[in-house]
Protein backbone atom coordinates (compact mmCIF):
# COMPACT_ATOMS: atom_id res chain seq x y z
CA UNK A 1 0.00 0.00 0.00
CA UNK A 2 1.29 3.45 -0.84
CA UNK A 3 2.25 5.46 2.16
CA UNK A 4 2.16 9.23 2.14
CA UNK A 5 3.31 11.51 4.90
CA UNK A 6 0.24 12.07 6.97
CA UNK A 7 -0.58 14.50 9.68
CA UNK A 8 0.41 13.20 13.09
CA UNK A 9 -2.27 12.62 15.66
CA UNK A 10 -2.42 14.98 18.65
CA UNK A 11 -1.92 12.84 21.75
CA UNK A 12 -3.91 13.44 24.92
CA UNK A 13 -1.71 13.45 27.97
CA UNK A 14 -1.86 15.01 31.40
CA UNK A 15 0.85 17.51 32.26
CA UNK A 16 2.59 15.35 34.82
CA UNK A 17 3.12 12.52 32.39
CA UNK A 18 4.07 14.98 29.64
CA UNK A 19 6.71 16.62 31.82
CA UNK A 20 8.20 13.19 32.52
CA UNK A 21 8.57 12.59 28.78
CA UNK A 22 12.16 13.75 28.59
CA UNK A 23 13.37 11.25 26.02
CA UNK A 24 13.17 12.46 22.41
CA UNK A 25 13.96 10.66 19.18
CA UNK A 26 13.58 10.72 15.40
CA UNK A 27 12.79 7.75 13.22
CA UNK A 28 15.00 8.69 10.30
CA UNK A 29 18.18 10.67 9.64
CA UNK A 30 16.35 13.20 7.51
CA UNK A 31 16.62 16.72 8.94
CA UNK A 32 12.92 17.21 8.48
CA UNK A 33 11.95 13.89 10.04
CA UNK A 34 9.37 14.39 12.78
CA UNK A 35 10.67 14.68 16.32
CA UNK A 36 8.91 12.61 18.94
CA UNK A 37 8.91 12.62 22.69
CA UNK A 38 8.43 9.24 24.27
CA UNK A 39 5.52 9.20 26.72
CA UNK A 40 6.26 7.09 29.80
CA UNK A 41 3.09 5.08 29.11
CA UNK A 42 4.72 3.78 25.93
CA UNK A 43 3.55 5.95 23.07
CA UNK A 44 5.35 8.43 20.86
CA UNK A 45 4.03 11.98 20.59
CA UNK A 46 4.82 14.43 17.81
CA UNK A 47 1.89 16.67 18.64
CA UNK A 48 -0.38 17.14 21.66
CA UNK A 49 -3.76 18.72 22.30
CA UNK A 50 -4.23 20.29 25.70
CA UNK A 51 -7.10 22.11 27.37
CA UNK A 52 -6.48 23.70 30.73
CA UNK A 53 -6.39 26.88 32.72
CA UNK A 54 -3.99 29.52 31.54
CA UNK A 55 -2.83 30.88 34.89
CA UNK A 56 0.07 33.11 33.96
CA UNK A 57 1.65 34.68 30.91
CA UNK A 58 4.99 36.42 30.84
CA UNK A 59 7.26 37.86 28.21
CA UNK A 60 10.55 36.17 29.04
CA UNK A 61 12.33 37.30 25.87
CA UNK A 62 15.49 39.35 26.00
CA UNK A 63 15.83 41.08 22.64
CA UNK A 64 12.48 40.20 21.16
CA UNK A 65 9.18 39.09 22.60
CA UNK A 66 9.15 35.50 23.80
CA UNK A 67 5.99 34.58 25.63
CA UNK A 68 5.71 31.91 28.27
CA UNK A 69 2.32 30.52 29.21
CA UNK A 70 1.49 28.23 32.13
CA UNK A 71 -1.46 25.95 31.52
CA UNK A 72 -2.61 24.05 34.57
CA UNK A 73 -4.48 20.76 34.53
CA UNK A 74 -7.06 19.28 36.88
CA UNK A 75 -4.53 17.29 38.87
CA UNK A 76 -2.06 20.06 39.44
CA UNK A 77 0.32 19.41 36.59
CA UNK A 78 1.45 22.37 34.53
CA UNK A 79 2.18 22.60 30.83
CA UNK A 80 4.70 25.23 29.79
CA UNK A 81 4.37 26.73 26.36
CA UNK A 82 6.63 29.22 24.62
CA UNK A 83 5.81 31.37 21.59
CA UNK A 84 8.12 33.82 19.87
CA UNK A 85 8.45 35.44 16.48
CA UNK A 86 8.01 32.15 14.64
CA UNK A 87 4.65 31.54 16.31
CA UNK A 88 3.16 35.02 15.85
CA UNK A 89 -0.49 34.02 16.30
CA UNK A 90 0.15 32.07 19.48
CA UNK A 91 2.45 34.82 20.77
CA UNK A 92 -0.21 37.46 20.27
CA UNK A 93 -2.78 35.23 22.01
CA UNK A 94 -0.50 34.93 25.03
CA UNK A 95 0.07 38.69 24.95
CA UNK A 96 -3.64 39.45 24.83
CA UNK A 97 -5.29 36.81 27.01
CA UNK A 98 -5.96 37.75 30.61
CA UNK A 99 -5.44 34.80 32.96
CA UNK A 100 -7.10 32.91 34.40
CA UNK A 101 -8.78 31.59 31.30
CA UNK A 102 -9.53 28.18 29.81
CA UNK A 103 -7.47 27.67 26.69
CA UNK A 104 -7.04 24.95 24.09
CA UNK A 105 -3.50 24.43 22.87
CA UNK A 106 -2.31 22.41 19.89
CA UNK A 107 1.42 22.10 19.61
CA UNK A 108 4.64 20.16 19.33
CA UNK A 109 6.57 18.77 22.27
CA UNK A 110 10.04 20.24 22.73
CA UNK A 111 12.71 19.57 25.32
CA UNK A 112 15.63 21.61 26.57
CA UNK A 113 18.36 21.02 29.06
CA UNK A 114 18.77 23.48 31.90
CA UNK A 115 22.10 24.68 33.27
CA UNK A 116 21.60 22.25 36.12
CA UNK A 117 21.33 19.38 33.66
CA UNK A 118 17.61 18.79 34.10
CA UNK A 119 15.50 18.22 31.00
CA UNK A 120 12.44 20.41 30.72
CA UNK A 121 9.59 19.51 28.42
CA UNK A 122 7.43 22.22 26.86
CA UNK A 123 4.99 22.82 24.05
CA UNK A 124 5.72 24.88 20.94
CA UNK A 125 2.25 26.10 20.04
CA UNK A 126 0.59 25.75 16.64
CA UNK A 127 -2.54 27.41 17.96
CA UNK A 128 -3.97 28.72 21.21
CA UNK A 129 -7.65 29.58 21.56
CA UNK A 130 -9.85 30.59 24.47
CA UNK A 131 -12.51 27.96 25.20
CA UNK A 132 -15.20 27.32 27.81
CA UNK A 133 -15.44 24.95 30.74
CA UNK A 134 -17.38 22.29 28.82
CA UNK A 135 -14.48 21.88 26.41
CA UNK A 136 -12.05 21.63 29.29
CA UNK A 137 -14.14 19.00 31.09
CA UNK A 138 -14.49 16.96 27.94
CA UNK A 139 -10.73 17.09 27.48
CA UNK A 140 -10.18 15.81 31.02
CA UNK A 141 -12.39 12.77 30.43
CA UNK A 142 -10.91 12.11 27.01
CA UNK A 143 -7.35 12.44 28.29
CA UNK A 144 -8.09 10.08 31.16
CA UNK A 145 -9.50 7.57 28.68
CA UNK A 146 -6.54 7.78 26.33
CA UNK A 147 -4.10 7.56 29.26
CA UNK A 148 -5.85 4.46 30.62
CA UNK A 149 -5.77 2.89 27.17
CA UNK A 150 -2.02 3.45 27.00
CA UNK A 151 -1.57 1.98 30.49
CA UNK A 152 -3.58 -1.09 29.50
CA UNK A 153 -1.46 -1.55 26.40
CA UNK A 154 1.68 -1.02 28.47
CA UNK A 155 0.68 -3.73 30.91
CA UNK A 156 -0.47 -6.26 28.34
CA UNK A 157 1.42 -5.55 25.18
CA UNK A 158 4.89 -5.00 23.88
CA UNK A 159 5.01 -2.42 21.11
CA UNK A 160 8.27 -0.81 20.08
CA UNK A 161 7.44 2.28 22.15
CA UNK A 162 6.42 0.32 25.20
CA UNK A 163 9.78 -1.45 25.07
CA UNK A 164 11.47 1.89 24.67
CA UNK A 165 9.59 3.37 27.63
CA UNK A 166 10.50 0.41 29.79
CA UNK A 167 14.17 0.91 29.10
CA UNK A 168 14.26 4.73 29.17
CA UNK A 169 12.11 5.50 32.21
CA UNK A 170 11.85 4.09 35.67
CA UNK A 171 8.91 5.89 37.26
CA UNK A 172 6.12 3.40 38.05
CA UNK A 173 3.27 3.41 35.53
CA UNK A 174 0.80 3.25 38.43
CA UNK A 175 1.46 6.96 39.03
CA UNK A 176 -0.24 7.85 35.76
CA UNK A 177 -3.31 5.79 36.58
CA UNK A 178 -3.59 7.59 39.92
CA UNK A 179 -3.29 10.93 38.18
CA UNK A 180 -6.06 10.00 35.75
CA UNK A 181 -8.30 9.06 38.68
CA UNK A 182 -7.48 12.31 40.43
CA UNK A 183 -8.36 14.28 37.31
CA UNK A 184 -11.69 12.48 36.89
CA UNK A 185 -12.56 12.92 40.57
CA UNK A 186 -11.98 16.64 40.27
CA UNK A 187 -14.96 16.80 37.90
CA UNK A 188 -17.22 15.65 40.77
CA UNK A 189 -15.86 17.91 43.43
CA UNK A 190 -15.50 21.05 41.41
CA UNK A 191 -18.60 21.86 39.45
CA UNK A 192 -17.17 25.34 39.00
CA UNK A 193 -13.82 23.76 38.23
CA UNK A 194 -10.99 26.12 38.94
CA UNK A 195 -7.33 25.70 38.43
CA UNK A 196 -5.78 23.36 40.89
Amino acid sequence: MATTPTRKVARRVFAREFNDATYTFKESDDDRAPLYVLLPTGERANRIFVVGTLTETEDVGQDSEYWQGRIVGPNGGTFFTYAGQYQPDAASMLRELEPPEYVALVGKPRTYETDEGDINVSVRPESITAVDEAVRNRWVVETAERTLERIEAFENGSSEYIQMAKSEYDSPIETYREQAIEALESLDSQPEATAD
Partner: protein, 312 residues
Protein backbone atom coordinates in the same frame (compact mmCIF):
# COMPACT_ATOMS: atom_id res chain seq x y z
CA UNK B 1 4.91 -6.76 -5.33
CA UNK B 2 5.75 -9.30 -2.69
CA UNK B 3 6.01 -13.04 -2.93
CA UNK B 4 2.83 -13.53 -0.99
CA UNK B 5 0.87 -11.27 -3.32
CA UNK B 6 2.04 -13.27 -6.30
CA UNK B 7 1.18 -16.45 -4.51
CA UNK B 8 -2.35 -15.15 -3.93
CA UNK B 9 -2.68 -14.48 -7.63
CA UNK B 10 -1.31 -17.92 -8.33
CA UNK B 11 -3.89 -19.49 -6.03
CA UNK B 12 -6.67 -17.63 -7.86
CA UNK B 13 -5.40 -18.89 -11.19
CA UNK B 14 -4.95 -22.39 -9.83
CA UNK B 15 -8.59 -22.49 -8.80
CA UNK B 16 -9.67 -21.48 -12.27
CA UNK B 17 -7.71 -24.22 -14.01
CA UNK B 18 -7.26 -27.00 -11.50
CA UNK B 19 -10.19 -28.94 -13.02
CA UNK B 20 -8.82 -28.80 -16.53
CA UNK B 21 -5.08 -28.90 -16.10
CA UNK B 22 -2.58 -30.75 -14.04
CA UNK B 23 -0.82 -27.76 -12.55
CA UNK B 24 0.40 -26.63 -9.17
CA UNK B 25 0.33 -23.33 -7.33
CA UNK B 26 4.15 -23.44 -7.21
CA UNK B 27 4.40 -23.73 -10.96
CA UNK B 28 2.05 -20.76 -11.46
CA UNK B 29 3.87 -18.69 -8.85
CA UNK B 30 7.11 -19.41 -10.67
CA UNK B 31 5.71 -18.24 -13.99
CA UNK B 32 4.39 -15.06 -12.39
CA UNK B 33 7.69 -14.45 -10.63
CA UNK B 34 9.63 -14.77 -13.85
CA UNK B 35 7.43 -12.21 -15.55
CA UNK B 36 7.23 -9.79 -12.63
CA UNK B 37 10.71 -10.04 -11.17
CA UNK B 38 12.86 -10.80 -14.20
CA UNK B 39 10.96 -9.10 -16.99
CA UNK B 40 9.47 -6.31 -14.85
CA UNK B 41 5.99 -6.89 -16.25
CA UNK B 42 3.19 -5.32 -14.17
CA UNK B 43 1.42 -7.90 -12.06
CA UNK B 44 -1.89 -7.44 -13.86
CA UNK B 45 -0.23 -8.12 -17.22
CA UNK B 46 1.68 -11.05 -15.83
CA UNK B 47 -1.53 -12.51 -14.54
CA UNK B 48 -3.17 -12.02 -17.92
CA UNK B 49 -0.32 -13.60 -19.73
CA UNK B 50 -0.20 -16.64 -17.46
CA UNK B 51 -3.96 -17.08 -17.70
CA UNK B 52 -3.72 -16.92 -21.50
CA UNK B 53 -1.05 -19.59 -21.52
CA UNK B 54 -3.27 -21.93 -19.52
CA UNK B 55 -6.33 -21.07 -21.61
CA UNK B 56 -4.39 -22.19 -24.68
CA UNK B 57 -3.23 -25.35 -22.98
CA UNK B 58 -6.72 -26.21 -21.87
CA UNK B 59 -8.26 -25.24 -25.20
CA UNK B 60 -10.60 -22.84 -23.39
CA UNK B 61 -11.86 -19.37 -24.19
CA UNK B 62 -11.41 -16.46 -21.86
CA UNK B 63 -15.21 -16.38 -21.63
CA UNK B 64 -15.19 -19.81 -20.03
CA UNK B 65 -13.53 -18.51 -16.94
CA UNK B 66 -15.06 -15.08 -16.82
CA UNK B 67 -17.47 -14.42 -14.07
CA UNK B 68 -16.58 -17.71 -12.55
CA UNK B 69 -13.02 -16.68 -11.97
CA UNK B 70 -13.41 -13.52 -10.02
CA UNK B 71 -14.95 -12.79 -6.77
CA UNK B 72 -18.25 -10.96 -6.94
CA UNK B 73 -17.63 -8.09 -4.58
CA UNK B 74 -19.48 -5.21 -3.05
CA UNK B 75 -17.79 -1.85 -3.08
CA UNK B 76 -17.07 -1.60 0.62
CA UNK B 77 -15.20 -4.93 0.37
CA UNK B 78 -12.57 -3.48 -1.93
CA UNK B 79 -9.54 -3.27 0.30
CA UNK B 80 -6.63 -4.39 -1.85
CA UNK B 81 -5.00 -3.16 -5.02
CA UNK B 82 -4.56 -5.24 -8.14
CA UNK B 83 -7.35 -7.60 -7.41
CA UNK B 84 -9.54 -8.87 -10.24
CA UNK B 85 -13.17 -8.60 -9.29
CA UNK B 86 -16.74 -8.38 -10.56
CA UNK B 87 -19.11 -5.65 -9.43
CA UNK B 88 -22.77 -4.88 -9.87
CA UNK B 89 -23.02 -1.16 -9.63
CA UNK B 90 -24.78 1.97 -10.72
CA UNK B 91 -23.01 4.81 -12.47
CA UNK B 92 -23.58 7.57 -9.93
CA UNK B 93 -21.57 10.28 -11.57
CA UNK B 94 -19.52 10.81 -14.71
CA UNK B 95 -16.66 13.26 -14.55
CA UNK B 96 -14.81 15.00 -17.29
CA UNK B 97 -11.81 12.95 -18.43
CA UNK B 98 -8.65 15.00 -18.07
CA UNK B 99 -6.58 12.89 -20.40
CA UNK B 100 -7.04 11.36 -23.83
CA UNK B 101 -5.96 8.02 -22.44
CA UNK B 102 -9.12 7.96 -20.32
CA UNK B 103 -12.42 7.27 -22.10
CA UNK B 104 -14.63 7.67 -19.05
CA UNK B 105 -14.08 8.41 -15.40
CA UNK B 106 -16.61 8.73 -12.62
CA UNK B 107 -18.20 7.18 -9.59
CA UNK B 108 -19.81 3.75 -9.25
CA UNK B 109 -22.13 2.99 -6.38
CA UNK B 110 -23.84 0.03 -4.75
CA UNK B 111 -25.64 -0.50 -1.45
CA UNK B 112 -22.38 -0.41 0.45
CA UNK B 113 -20.81 2.76 -0.89
CA UNK B 114 -19.16 4.39 -3.85
CA UNK B 115 -15.86 3.96 -5.69
CA UNK B 116 -14.09 5.80 -8.47
CA UNK B 117 -13.76 4.03 -11.82
CA UNK B 118 -11.56 4.67 -14.81
CA UNK B 119 -12.17 3.29 -18.28
CA UNK B 120 -9.19 3.46 -20.63
CA UNK B 121 -9.64 4.66 -24.22
CA UNK B 122 -7.52 1.84 -25.57
CA UNK B 123 -9.79 -0.76 -23.96
CA UNK B 124 -12.46 0.04 -26.52
CA UNK B 125 -15.43 -0.63 -24.27
CA UNK B 126 -19.04 0.51 -24.69
CA UNK B 127 -20.05 3.80 -23.12
CA UNK B 128 -21.48 3.76 -19.61
CA UNK B 129 -24.46 5.97 -18.92
CA UNK B 130 -25.14 7.86 -15.75
CA UNK B 131 -27.92 6.36 -13.62
CA UNK B 132 -27.78 2.91 -15.21
CA UNK B 133 -26.89 -0.29 -13.45
CA UNK B 134 -24.30 -2.65 -14.89
CA UNK B 135 -22.71 -5.99 -14.21
CA UNK B 136 -19.01 -5.30 -14.63
CA UNK B 137 -16.83 -8.39 -14.89
CA UNK B 138 -13.08 -8.59 -14.80
CA UNK B 139 -12.21 -5.19 -13.44
CA UNK B 140 -9.05 -4.47 -11.50
CA UNK B 141 -8.78 -2.67 -8.19
CA UNK B 142 -6.25 0.05 -7.63
CA UNK B 143 -5.16 2.18 -4.72
CA UNK B 144 -3.83 5.71 -4.46
CA UNK B 145 -3.12 7.45 -1.15
CA UNK B 146 -5.24 4.98 0.75
CA UNK B 147 -8.23 5.41 -1.52
CA UNK B 148 -9.41 2.56 -3.74
CA UNK B 149 -10.65 2.72 -7.31
CA UNK B 150 -11.41 0.24 -10.07
CA UNK B 151 -10.12 0.16 -13.63
CA UNK B 152 -12.02 -1.22 -16.59
CA UNK B 153 -9.71 -2.85 -19.11
CA UNK B 154 -9.70 -4.73 -22.40
CA UNK B 155 -10.88 -7.94 -20.79
CA UNK B 156 -13.76 -6.30 -18.92
CA UNK B 157 -17.29 -7.18 -19.93
CA UNK B 158 -20.13 -4.75 -19.39
CA UNK B 159 -23.72 -5.89 -19.19
CA UNK B 160 -26.51 -3.44 -18.60
CA UNK B 161 -28.94 -4.70 -15.98
CA UNK B 162 -32.58 -3.84 -15.65
CA UNK B 163 -32.49 -3.18 -11.94
CA UNK B 164 -32.27 -0.34 -9.51
CA UNK B 165 -29.60 0.01 -6.85
CA UNK B 166 -30.06 2.16 -3.79
CA UNK B 167 -26.61 3.63 -3.44
CA UNK B 168 -25.20 3.78 0.07
CA UNK B 169 -23.28 6.89 0.92
CA UNK B 170 -20.55 5.38 3.11
CA UNK B 171 -21.30 7.99 5.68
CA UNK B 172 -19.11 8.31 8.74
CA UNK B 173 -19.55 9.94 12.11
CA UNK B 174 -16.53 11.35 13.86
CA UNK B 175 -16.13 13.12 17.16
CA UNK B 176 -13.00 14.96 18.14
CA UNK B 177 -11.30 18.27 18.62
CA UNK B 178 -10.91 20.67 15.72
CA UNK B 179 -7.13 21.01 15.93
CA UNK B 180 -6.35 22.83 12.70
CA UNK B 181 -7.91 25.00 10.05
CA UNK B 182 -5.99 24.64 6.81
CA UNK B 183 -5.16 27.32 4.28
CA UNK B 184 -7.86 27.90 1.71
CA UNK B 185 -10.45 28.28 4.49
CA UNK B 186 -12.66 31.23 5.34
CA UNK B 187 -13.92 33.65 2.72
CA UNK B 188 -12.86 32.30 -0.66
CA UNK B 189 -13.56 33.11 -4.30
CA UNK B 190 -14.48 30.49 -6.83
CA UNK B 191 -13.80 30.58 -10.54
CA UNK B 192 -16.76 32.18 -12.37
CA UNK B 193 -16.42 29.87 -15.40
CA UNK B 194 -19.44 27.66 -15.88
CA UNK B 195 -19.24 24.32 -14.06
CA UNK B 196 -15.86 25.24 -12.58
CA UNK B 197 -15.66 25.00 -8.82
CA UNK B 198 -11.96 25.71 -8.40
CA UNK B 199 -10.95 28.14 -5.70
CA UNK B 200 -9.09 31.18 -7.01
CA UNK B 201 -5.64 31.70 -5.55
CA UNK B 202 -4.41 35.25 -6.00
CA UNK B 203 -7.17 35.66 -8.56
CA UNK B 204 -6.07 32.65 -10.59
CA UNK B 205 -7.91 29.44 -11.36
CA UNK B 206 -5.67 26.37 -11.78
CA UNK B 207 -7.67 25.48 -14.88
CA UNK B 208 -8.77 28.76 -16.43
CA UNK B 209 -5.94 31.09 -15.45
CA UNK B 210 -7.20 34.59 -14.79
CA UNK B 211 -10.89 34.29 -15.49
CA UNK B 212 -13.02 36.98 -17.10
CA UNK B 213 -15.16 38.67 -14.53
CA UNK B 214 -15.03 38.46 -10.78
CA UNK B 215 -14.94 35.25 -8.84
CA UNK B 216 -17.87 34.26 -6.70
CA UNK B 217 -17.53 34.57 -2.95
CA UNK B 218 -18.04 31.44 -0.92
CA UNK B 219 -17.37 30.20 2.60
CA UNK B 220 -15.49 27.04 3.38
CA UNK B 221 -13.46 25.47 6.15
CA UNK B 222 -10.94 22.73 5.55
CA UNK B 223 -10.36 21.51 9.04
CA UNK B 224 -8.74 18.67 10.93
CA UNK B 225 -10.70 16.73 13.54
CA UNK B 226 -8.53 14.70 15.88
CA UNK B 227 -9.77 12.34 18.58
CA UNK B 228 -6.37 11.47 19.99
CA UNK B 229 -6.09 8.24 18.01
CA UNK B 230 -6.99 9.28 14.46
CA UNK B 231 -7.07 12.42 12.36
CA UNK B 232 -9.74 13.25 9.79
CA UNK B 233 -9.68 16.07 7.30
CA UNK B 234 -13.12 17.59 7.06
CA UNK B 235 -14.58 20.04 4.55
CA UNK B 236 -17.36 22.29 5.78
CA UNK B 237 -19.28 23.87 2.91
CA UNK B 238 -20.95 27.28 3.14
CA UNK B 239 -24.01 26.08 5.10
CA UNK B 240 -21.93 24.05 7.51
CA UNK B 241 -19.39 26.83 7.92
CA UNK B 242 -22.14 29.33 8.66
CA UNK B 243 -23.74 27.12 11.30
CA UNK B 244 -20.37 26.14 12.77
CA UNK B 245 -19.00 29.67 13.10
CA UNK B 246 -22.16 31.76 13.26
CA UNK B 247 -20.72 33.94 10.50
CA UNK B 248 -22.84 34.25 7.36
CA UNK B 249 -21.45 34.84 3.89
CA UNK B 250 -22.83 38.39 3.94
CA UNK B 251 -21.22 39.14 7.29
CA UNK B 252 -17.95 37.65 6.10
CA UNK B 253 -17.96 39.89 3.04
CA UNK B 254 -18.63 42.93 5.22
CA UNK B 255 -15.81 41.97 7.57
CA UNK B 256 -13.44 41.59 4.63
CA UNK B 257 -14.57 44.87 3.12
CA UNK B 258 -14.05 46.76 6.40
CA UNK B 259 -10.58 45.31 6.83
CA UNK B 260 -9.74 45.43 3.11
CA UNK B 261 -8.51 41.89 3.63
CA UNK B 262 -10.26 38.53 3.33
CA UNK B 263 -7.95 36.82 5.81
CA UNK B 264 -9.72 38.48 8.77
CA UNK B 265 -12.58 36.06 8.21
CA UNK B 266 -10.40 32.98 8.64
CA UNK B 267 -8.81 34.56 11.72
CA UNK B 268 -12.18 35.18 13.31
CA UNK B 269 -13.18 31.60 12.50
CA UNK B 270 -10.01 30.32 14.18
CA UNK B 271 -10.95 32.13 17.37
CA UNK B 272 -14.49 30.80 17.32
CA UNK B 273 -14.02 27.11 16.53
CA UNK B 274 -10.42 25.96 16.91
CA UNK B 275 -9.78 23.77 19.94
CA UNK B 276 -13.47 22.86 20.40
CA UNK B 277 -15.04 19.43 20.10
CA UNK B 278 -17.44 18.57 17.30
CA UNK B 279 -19.35 15.57 16.04
CA UNK B 280 -19.39 15.58 12.27
CA UNK B 281 -21.46 13.32 10.05
CA UNK B 282 -21.04 13.01 6.31
CA UNK B 283 -19.79 10.97 3.38
CA UNK B 284 -16.11 10.56 2.59
CA UNK B 285 -14.58 11.79 -0.62
CA UNK B 286 -10.94 10.99 -1.15
CA UNK B 287 -9.17 11.83 2.05
CA UNK B 288 -11.89 14.23 3.16
CA UNK B 289 -15.08 13.85 5.13
CA UNK B 290 -17.73 16.20 3.74
CA UNK B 291 -19.66 17.54 6.71
CA UNK B 292 -23.42 17.22 6.34
CA UNK B 293 -24.18 17.70 10.00
CA UNK B 294 -22.20 19.26 12.78
CA UNK B 295 -23.01 19.36 16.45
CA UNK B 296 -21.26 19.82 19.73
CA UNK B 297 -21.04 16.50 21.56
CA UNK B 298 -22.54 16.12 25.01
CA UNK B 299 -20.42 15.56 28.08
CA UNK B 300 -18.92 12.07 28.08
CA UNK B 301 -19.69 9.78 30.99
CA UNK B 302 -16.79 10.43 33.33
CA UNK B 303 -18.20 8.12 36.00
CA UNK B 304 -17.79 5.14 33.66
CA UNK B 305 -14.19 6.06 32.98
CA UNK B 306 -13.60 6.48 36.70
CA UNK B 307 -14.98 3.00 37.40
CA UNK B 308 -12.70 1.56 34.74
CA UNK B 309 -9.70 3.43 36.11
CA UNK B 310 -10.31 2.18 39.63
CA UNK B 311 -10.77 -1.41 38.52
CA UNK B 312 -7.54 -1.60 36.54
Amino acid sequence: MTETDLRTHAEDIYEQFSDQLDISVEEITERLETLVNEYKVPTSEARRSVINTYLDEAGMDRDDIMGGGNEQKVISDVDRAEEWIDLQAKVVDLWEARSDAVAQVGLLGDETGTIKFTKWSKSDLPKLEEGKVYALRNIVTDEYQGRYSVKLNRTTTIEELDEEIEVGDDEVEITGALVDIQSGSGLIKRCPEEDCTHVLQNGRCPEHGEPDGDGEFDLRIKGVIDDGTQVHEVIFNRDMTESLTGITLEQAQEMAMDALDTSVVAEEMHDRVLGRYYTVTGPTLGRYVLANEVEEPGMPDHEAVLIKARSM
